[in-house]
Amino acid sequence: MDTAALSAWVREFARLVRENRELLTDLDAAIGDGDHGLNMDRGLTAVTAALDAHPPDSPSALFKLAGMTLISKVGGASGPLYGTAFLRMAAAADTVVDAPGFAKVLRAGLDGVAARGKATPGDKTMLDALSPAVDALDDALTAGEPFAGALAAAVQAAEEGREATIPLVARKGRASYLGERSAGHADPGATSVTLLLTAAAATLTGP
């Protein structure tokens, strides 16, 4: 996958977030402060504009531009978390990203989210979708699945992880202030990060 293919992935993520802006905001209103869709849409719109204005010349430059833009534009908790994820992905990306390289990039992003947010799986955060998705991608590629099938497995794992946040009681972020009342709703961050995987499956066809 070259810079153009990976740019298409980031743009598709922006499009999906725009399309699901109300859903993300409603999920956040239920257990947070009701701005996740608005903030992510604002940040990713800025990322798309930055890609138009300064087309990156490498996967690393692409992810760095996305990360810096998100940190500068999103605010809240999502800005540092998604921003750190993309900056770590930039550091892990080779000039041309093959299937195992993509898994490595995604895992670097996951590690960045965990380090910045100090959350662990089960806290009802974006990690609950991202972590099983990265594991599923690794497992499928190791088992010799073609890239498309491995991405499909990652999407499925993310969706299952997202659904599994519904009964959880939040232990991080603003949702944690609700205690038991945070149960019964999907986590907005787990929902938006599932869109990142969905966008990958829709745009990336492999090396």
Partner: protein, 332 residues
């Protein structure tokens, strides 16, 4: 939604234009959305920077001026500002004695201020200390949450640490005052209605007419429990009792702060202050100073919060020190 706005997307920029026009004694960096004290940086004085999501006005920009903050960063509504803003504010107020960041304990605010402190220190060598406020007793079990929220005590920290900085105390001393205020202050709030974020256009949560939310924060997040609306005397008890249960105030003079959440009229806040005073007298807690009004709000939410600060002689002297800001002004 009925609001005095143009395009909801422009509400913060538009409000900052008005703020700048109304208060020529402060400087407004519209690009970064940072409000800076007019004479900043003050040579040899510790600079105080705070900031947070917008929608809590007058917090924080209304508290920029001599005796309080040197700069305030305005984020999107209820959303932490970004590190770029905090770095710009830190540079603008660095008078050579270091900069104190006053951060309300919310996941996003803490992460963005952490990144900003790293960037500012790496960029210019300015020495930054952060103090995080977390006074909200509604959040009970900090092992399983992001910890207590920073609410009403933040106003008192900004006033008292601001006075300490104005006296010329060094960064460590100003940070100590801020930590002492946070450690000795507790708050609890109640909402009678939700609030409406302009860009969302509808109330953040549903609250039936006969009910209220006890233990709310300041971002329109629902509270800990929902109960039928009650007389002010009972509501005061719901707010004061958990505070007194959390910290021993017996015999210690307090600064008592009854804060409006945005849509509650002052007359109701005074009714509440009377009830709070009554409860404190019964508990043997003397009120040494008071503050009543909407100072840390949640857009158009109706309701109030109570903050009680155990205050020794030092804190009372700092409280009485002159302050000259758009929203808090005395002794000048």
């Amino acid at each position: 939604m009925k609001k005095l706005v143009n395009d909801p997307a422009d509400v913060i920029s538009d409000a900052l234009l008005g703020f700048a026009a109304a208060h020529p004694e402060v400087r407004v960096d519209h690009e970064h959305r940072v409000v800076v004290r007019g004479d900043a940086p003050v040579r040899g004085k510790v600079g105080l920077v705070s900031g947070g999501g917008s929608g809590h006005e007058p917090l924080h920009a209304g508290f920029v001026g001599p005796g309080m903050l040197d700069a305030a960063c305005a984020g999107e509504i209820f959303t932490s500002p970004v590190p770029d803003q905090m770095v710009a504010a830190t540079r603008a107020v660095d008078g050579g004695a270091g900069v104190l960041h006053i951060v309300k304990n919310y996941t996003g605010d803490v992460m963005n201020f952490e990144m900003a402190a790293e960037l500012a220190e790496a960029g210019t060598g300015v020495s930054v200390t952060a103090v995080v406020t977390d006074d909200d007793v509604a959040v009970q079990d900090s092992l399983y949450t992001a910890g207590r929220r920073g609410v009403g005590v933040t106003v008192l920290v900004e006033k008292l640490a601001g006075a300490a900085a104005e006296q010329g105390r060094p960064l460590a001393g100003v940070a100590d005052v801020a930590r002492k205020v946070n450690a000795n202050g507790r708050s609890m709030g109640v909402a009678l209605t939700s609030c409406t974020v302009p860009a969302a256009g509808k109330p953040t949560f549903d609250l039936p007419p006969g009910e209220m939310e006890v233990g709310i924060g300041i971002h329109g997040e629902p509270g800990r429990r929902r109960v039928p609306v009650a007389p002010a005397s009972e509501i005061a008890d719901m707010l004061v009792s958990p505070i007194l249960a959390d910290l021993d105030y017996t015999g210690s003079p307090v600064i008592a702060f009854v804060n409006g959440m945005g849509a509650t009229p002052l007359i109701e806040l005074y009714v509440m202050f009377h009830e709070v005073g009554h409860l404190l007298a019964k508990a043997g807690v003397p009120v040494a100073r008071s503050l009543v009004g909407p100072y840390i709000t949640s857009l158009d939410m109706a309701g109030c919060s109570v903050t009680l600060l155990r205050a020794d002689e030092e804190l009372l002297r700092l409280w009485d020190a002159p302050v000259r800001t758009p929203a808090l002004r005395w002794g000048v």
